[in-house]
């Protein structure tokens, strides 16, 4: 057993913690998404679609679980409306 292996053994817990933090951040934003997020996404899409045409892929709904509160992040890309045609004045 060399010095390095002793060192590695001593520090295995911080490695575990870092791996978990990275993994769970990933899992929470994908499979960790609850049915609630799916339902919210669908309903938000329906509301937006009533007023503007949006690309389904441009609507991002993400839940971040926190200590006391969770945050719901909604990011919607809406196409800039094309200028009304001047011909309409005819």
């Amino acid at each position: 057993m060399n010095l390095l292996s002793i060192f590695n053994k001593r520090t295995s817990a911080p490695v575990a913690r870092d791996r978990l933090q990275i993994l769970l951040a990933h899992e929470r934003s994908y499979s960790g998404q609850s049915d609630l997020v799916t339902a919210l996404r669908e309903e938000i899409l329906a509301v937006i679609a009533k007023h503007v045409n949006v690309d389904r892929d441009k609507v991002l709904v993400k839940m971040d679980r926190g200590d006391a509160v969770s945050t719901l992040e909604v990011d919607i890309e809406i196409p800039t409306p094309t200028k009304p045609k001047l011909a309409a004045s005819a």
Partner: protein
């Protein structure tokens, strides 16, 4: 008012059944009327840990299906008269547990007991979701080890989405019970520390149960550790956790085997 508590974890073998028996007995020792329910259909164990395996006549499925009255299936503990067990079926299929049937049984128990503690099976399938379905609060049992922490994270997600409480838009109070903790190994950097797990899972700490041979000794003789050796380190840790569950605000420590000596004090307290 009656409280329904689910003891859950995702990962198997982390100490759910041990904790259900110990917390149930500790709450009863403090005077509450307690029933512990085994939801692990086909793999029942709570009867053994409680030392009631030879007294099982009817089980949860019999009651759910109306083949037995609740009073016929409940087994009263021989040591504590205010502690009862509702065993799981060992032979039946877990599909025999219907959601409505479980709801009815829980409602009936709410009228008779102060605490209804549901020992969840491992996994994230139907058995586990049924056990948590009607809970008012949850104890998430976790070992300081990567796969257990990951599975606990998954279970926390289910508690926040699949329970009746979550579906009605209410908050589900969740408490972390860190079990099989070895302070020496954590200090040497060989095992995840309490603060690491708390930071990752972000739920309040209910207690830290040290790894101890007293737990095995208690299960060998069929007695919750809080009854079998009340002064041992795990028993004191469970007794304190039970008091926190009941709303007392006491600092979390890791009781050590040496009597009177308390380990490091943890700043965080369990939310009531």
């Amino acid at each position: 008012m009656a409280k329904v508590l689910v003891v859950t974890s995702g990962k198997g073998g982390v100490g759910k059944t041990t904790s259900t028996a110990a917390l149930g007995a500790a709450l009863a020792q403090n005077g509450s009327n307690v029933v512990v329910i085994d939801f692990d259909v086909g793999l029942r164990n709570l009867d053994l840990v409680m030392g009631a395996e030879r007294r099982v006549v009817y089980d949860l499925i019999n009651v759910v299906q109306g083949d037995a009255k609740l009073a016929q299936a409940l087994i009263r503990d021989k040591r504590l008269e205010n502690l009862s067990l509702l065993p799981a079926s060992q032979t039946r299929d877990k599909d025999a547990l219907t959601e409505d049937g479980v709801a009815r049984v829980i409602e009936e128990l709410r009228e008779k007991f102060d605490w209804i503690i549901c020992d969840s099976p491992a996994g994230i399938e139907r058995g586990a979701t049924l056990a948590m379905r009607h809970a008012d609060m949850a104890v998430v049992v976790t070992n300081p080890e990567v796969s257990s922490v990951r599975d606990s994270d998954r279970i926390i997600g289910l508690l926040d989405s699949k329970t009746a409480r979550a579906e009605s838009g209410e908050r589900m109070p969740k408490h972390l019970l860190l079990t099989r903790y070895d302070q020496g190994r954590a200090e040497r950097g060989e095992m995840l520390k309490v603060d690491d797990v708390l930071e990752i899972l972000s739920i309040p700490l209910l207690g830290i149960i040290p790894e101890s041979e007293e737990v095995l000794r208690a299960s060998n003789v069929g007695s919750p550790v809080t009854i079998n050796s009340p002064t041992s380190a795990p028993a004191r840790a469970y007794a304190e956790a039970a008091r926190r569950l009941a709303g007392e605000d006491i600092a979390v420590t890791v009781p050590s085997e040496k009597k009177g000596f308390f380990g490091k004090l943890f700043g965080r307290r369990a939310a009531a």
